[in-house]
């Protein structure tokens, strides 16, 4: 696109770009430290004592921490999938529509998990789920998936809703007029336009689930520690760079995925 007559490109707002650069640096600075300390020869996450791979070895040998890591990822995957799907549907029902009776109630209900401090939901869920556990005898991961899905919904819903709010209705209208079924309209027109919102919502839901401590601590059954609850247990005693090592491995995997993604998208171009 041509530059405007004034001689600058709106895509290059230098002030904004500078702040964005600062923002990225700030985001990654602690991560760099985290990675550095995963190679620490000492037992500290804050005092450098030389290079060593001992924490990678120790994490490799520690079955509890590995299981907790995998459990965290599995839980975050299901919770974000369920929460995002439910949030897309809910956003479609509550955005770009005439205000209906019960609209504010629905909106408040969807955002309720944001407003109640975790510990409160955690204690109440403990009481509720313990009853069900005793009655049914089922103590699987389902309770955690359900609890996580619930508090992930607003995090998925709000970005999707924000995206949907400004979307153009005319295309959908046109498709509808051409006798496309509502599902076709959704798949071919709405979904592609909505995609950035869905991706944003799903990613937020994923990390929110990945970070949750308090609700998980109260809902988990025997043998269901996640990485954050495992860390919470360590907090009182010694936090070693073992979890730095695991985080570094996860980082390496995700960075590799992003790079692969990047090249794939360039090939497609």
């Amino acid at each position: 696109m041509a530059n405007s007559a004034k001689g600058f490109d709106v895509r290059k707002q230098w002030g904004f770009t500078t702040i964005a650069a600062v923002c990225f640096v700030l985001l990654y600075l602690p991560v760099v430290l985290l990675v550095v300390y995963s190679f620490n020869a000492g037992t500290s996450v804050a005092i450098w004592e030389g290079f060593s791979l001992q924490w990678y070895r120790s994490a490799w040998d520690n079955q509890q921490v590995q299981e907790a890591t995998v459990r965290s990822l599995v839980l975050a995957f299901w919770a974000s999938l369920i929460a995002t799907s439910a949030a897309v549907l809910a956003a479609l029902a509550t955005t770009r529509v005439r205000p209906f009776k019960g609209y504010s109630t629905v909106f408040a209900a969807i955002n309720q998990p944001l407003m109640v401090p975790e510990i409160v939901t955690a204690v109440a869920l403990l009481i509720l789920f313990a009853g069900i556990k005793v009655q049914t005898g089922y103590t699987g991961l389902g309770y955690l998936v359900l609890a996580h899905s619930a508090f992930c919904i607003p995090f998925a819903y709000l970005p999707i809703r924000a995206r949907l709010q400004g979307m153009d209705l005319t295309l959908e209208q046109a498709a509808s007029d051409l006798y496309a079924s509502p599902f076709q309209v959704f798949r071919r027109i709405t979904l592609p336009q909505l995609w950035p919102g869905i991706l944003a919502g799903a990613m937020l839901a994923f990390v929110i689930s990945l970070d949750d401590v308090v609700i998980t601590e109260f809902v988990k059954s025997a043998g269901q520690d996640t990485l954050p609850t495992y860390m919470l247990g360590q907090l009182r005693r010694v936090v070693t760079p073992e979890v730095n090592a695991i985080s570094t491995v996860l980082l390496a995997i995700s960075v590799t995925m992003v790079i692969a993604f990047f090249f794939l998208s360039r090939v497609k171009k």
Binding site: N62, V74, I132, K133, T139, S221, A222, Y230, L232, R237
Partner: protein
């Protein structure tokens, strides 16, 4: 994803097949020696699963609610009477536990579990003051280091956020009794704490490296944590306040609704074997209350000043207790005021 699902399915099937040989332990994080667990698993062909908690209150709330699936829990002595009162623990039969006699006589008739009917010792320790002797040269066996700190320590003090231990230390400092409800005493306690807090840097856990590196020069601390700090910095010393300092003990107990009762009994008996108790201590860095375990302990722990209480300060120790609810309520108010 498909592979993942298959794996999960396999894992589910595999664990179901092993159901007879299972044991679920609910314990403080980073507190159970993996070597000892491995030994137990081999000896008795039992698959042990450990799940962590980070406070007695969380453990109590979860176990009270039911449906948790745990067999063994390791609460502090102060919580044992509460667990027993709520009928959450299974009564032990000493005749079934061949190692019951190994419990150190000193830890047999404890106030929180007379005759050890419900629990057996896991680890015990003291709450005292950690001091960097390079910064402060005075007497370290003094609660005034925290509650009326000398100039050189001001702003470099950390206090572990344990309401009962800190309140207890302050109550004894002003001359009161454990769990006192005396308003006069408590008023003094509050004034002392509010005044002292201005000189505290933080109220936090897990400060080993901050002590070692000099960010902190003194603090209310656990003896084991203080020992770990000394490993990194020889100037760190542990003091036992002569006005009184709390002694705590964590204890393993079998839950009333345990599913793997036989394995739980095996385990409780197993940790009372001196050699195994020493393995626990070597990992957690605290003493264990099992007679005869000393000879299996790591050399540096046998003589550690953080573990061997000096003879003249032994009498200043008091065993931490469960305070009555109405007293507890006042403590909470003072505690909240302290952190507002």
């Amino acid at each position: 994803m498909k592979t993942f699902l298959t794996t999960t399915a396999l894992v589910a099937v595999a664990s179901a097949a092993l159901a007879e040989g299972e044991l679920n332990i609910y314990n403080w994080g980073n507190y159970t020696s993996p070597e000892m667990i491995e030994k137990f698993e081999k000896e008795h062909d039992v698959k042990v699963t450990i799940t962590d908690y980070d406070s007695n209150d969380t453990a109590l709330a979860k176990i009270k609610a039911g449906g948790h699936g745990f067999d063994i829990v390791v609460p502090s002595g102060t919580y044992i009477p509460i667990f027993v009162g709520e009928n959450l623990l299974m009564e032990l039969d000493p005749s079934e536990l061949s190692n019951h006699g190994n419990i150190d006589p000193q830890w047999m008739d404890v106030k929180f579990d007379p005759g050890r009917k419900f629990s057996v010792p896991w680890q015990w320790g003291t709450v005292g003051v950690t001091v960097n002797t390079a910064v402060y040269g005075g007497d370290i066996n003094d609660a005034a280091i925290i509650l009326d700190p000398p100039e050189e320590l001001k702003g470099k003090i950390n206090v572990v956020p344990e309401m009962n231990d800190v309140m207890g230390m302050a109550i004894h400092y002003v001359g009161g009794e454990t769990c006192t409800g005396d308003k006069e005493v408590l008023k003094k306690v509050r004034d002392v704490l509010v005044e002292a807090k201005k000189n505290w840097l933080s109220m936090d856990y897990g400060n080993i490296e901050k002590y070692a590196k000099g960010d902190l020069a003194a603090g209310v601390n656990w003896n084991g944590a203080s020992m770990r700090a000394r490993d990194q910095n020889a100037d760190i010393a542990f003091g036992y306040p002569k006005t009184g300092y709390p002694v705590w003990m964590d204890n393993a107990a079998i839950l009333a609704d345990a599913k793997n009762v036989d394995n739980a009994k095996l385990f409780v008996n197993f940790i009372m074997e001196p050699e195994n108790a020493a393995m626990l201590s070597a990992f957690a860095k605290y003493a264990n209350g099992i007679a005869g375990s000393e000879e299996f302990m790591p050399e540096e722990m046998k003589s550690a000043p953080e573990i061997v209480v000096p003879a003249d300060l032994k009498s200043a120790a008091y065993i931490a207790e469960t305070c009555p609810p109405e007293v507890s309520k006042i403590y909470t108010q003072i505690w909240t005021e302290l952190q507002k």
